[in-house]
Symmetry: D2
Subunit: 197 residues, 4 copies
């Protein structure tokens, strides 16, 4: 259950469409909205998801960061960093761009050396297809755990960024603030780093 | 260096475009060719690559299978199984569909339980961008090693399927028959299974 | 909480020490019990853990198998397949040997082609050190998900083998039958294959 | 082929046994040499291997670090960081300890958040058993790629530390300076991070 539904999402220009601004640039310039709609209705879109974490000096994950923002389903929810890969952009570049966009310029994200995601998240317009839901489109998202060493401050459309211990991150309080399968993604990320309680 | 350039590729309808037939179905039916072109020029496309292997009873990879076919760059080359993920299709389903399409209905591919690819291959129209090349588009491909237990026979546009030992698969003879970075993909796959010589 | 404590474990020769029979053979023959004790008190021991699963034709994990047996801590608990790697034995061979020993000769386990474990489980005599507990020794265990295609029947010291859906496997009923962190290992395994609920 | 055989290894106390000093401490204090020999002859030993790398701001591996030292086989060879896991020591702690021991106190190694090694290296006294060789014992080594951010200087028994580009690291010049399969380990590490040429 999300915190609450965003009233009149359409009238809040700064939070309407969280990846609107920087994501529609393409090889031929900017993609017209109707063309983006055509693509979204016909092809899976390449995404990256980043779970920001704090690590201690031995590499143990001690905290998980979650944004509070207007999600794709219109709710205000806890979320991970997420966004499109652009034409001609390396996956690594997209990951860094979205981390900086959402966590601020001083976050110092450490994108892993290994290009393999810890899981592949398949978001579908049908919530039952995979358990991961996006009403806008079918997205295939490469998900990474990204340690951040610097100071984070939510930017752009994010309303807040909060750090949770692994226990808190999988607890009922936080789970109820997440939709679209993001709570499950957090559990998969914590399992990957051996910290799922 | 490919074996040879395919003469008059355009006049060979059955081999012109190796993923033409089954891949353009979408949520709204079939995608018009001009719309596919629009998408290809503007967005990365989701792909899967499958490296077919034979394993012994302990799971050791003993042989790597390679197709001989008209590649995206117009050469006749050794290649792995590759193709698009369709709208509303799970990655796992795409992997199985392309394996069956290329290896035949009796191949009995064993798609891994773990959805994580062993590497993410980024194909670009610019051959220097990542070392993986596709003149048609920018594709982000999830690459898997897929043990096949049954009888394989090349189908559709593939001209041949040959099995190589790990040593042969990375040898100069086979490497010279591969283009677009597929030889490197084979090495990454063999490293993943601990069999890179 | 285990099902119940095994009364007089010492007087039940067939279940006393679940890896007694086949595991103490070494390069110099059989290791004397006092030497095994010396080693256990001084060095981490190499182990393998195998989580047996059933998969559908697309590779989706549909069921998890768990043994009922006398655990290292003396309880009768639900457990995964586990055991030592012997001197001069490949990890892959140990994995196959323990699967056959515990699941029977017709289980047809499919040891993965990739030698990398999905996690490394560190069992300590101190239950608080890592959350994984073994009163006998410090063991570093390479953990794998192993699809089994054939008929399983518990052998040797196992009292029972039961298959659970992913939901059941992480439910309270099954969790209460597990000790030493094995319930957590099941969750890590299900996360690895994308099936953690 | 190693650079040269170390003459009179036994008379060079500082380089005789590269993991002698800090590795034999156990739960019961220091392990007597004869007991260590007993264990080595009877049980696989748990090891960690670390491939030190330099990464750019996007996480791309740009350089691989290799030590020059007296190897287990008595040759002076290029090697990765390697050493035992002690009784009661977490794998992560062993990894950090060996990195600091070999690379110096200012190296600032970043042990990955994910505890899964990129490969499992099985060293055997028989050079043909797996291709990885150690005349002293059977070791099962968890191998990690470890980015180092600080200043490295070889310490203890290492004679030198040199950084190589991925191309150089797999080139004939460097390969000829490595023994025991360490050249292959470098290739597996580079494949894991997508940088195998």
């Amino acid at each position: 259950m999300p915190l609450f539904l965003a009233p009149n999402v359409g009238s809040l220009p700064t939070v309407t469409n969280y990846d609107r601004d920087s994501d529609t640039q393409t090889s031929t310039g900017w993609l017209a909205p109707e063309d983006l709609e055509l693509i979204r209705a016909n092809m899976p879109i390449v995404y990256v998801d980043a779970v920001p974490v704090r690590v201690d000096e031995l590499g143990n994950v001690t905290e998980v960061g979650m944004l509070l923002r207007v999600a794709a389903d219109g709710t205000i929810s806890r979320m991970v960093v997420t966004g499109r890969v652009l034409f001609n952009e390396r996956v690594r570049e997209a990951l860094m761009r979205h981390c900086e966009k959402d966590l601020g310029p001083m976050a110092m994200p450490r994108v892993p050396a290994n290009p393999t995601p810890f899981t592949v998240v398949e978001y579908f317009p049908d919530p039952l297809r995979s358990g991961f839901y996006d009403p806008r489109h079918h997205a295939v998202s490469l998900a990474y755990v990204v340690p951040v060493a610097g100071e984070c401050e939510p930017t752009q459309q994010a309303l807040d960024l909060t750090w949770f211990s692994p226990e808190e991150a999988v607890g009922d309080d936080v789970r109820e603030q997440m939709t679209s399968g993001h709570d499950r993604l957090i559990r998969l990320a914590l399992a990957h780093v051996g910290k799922l309680p």
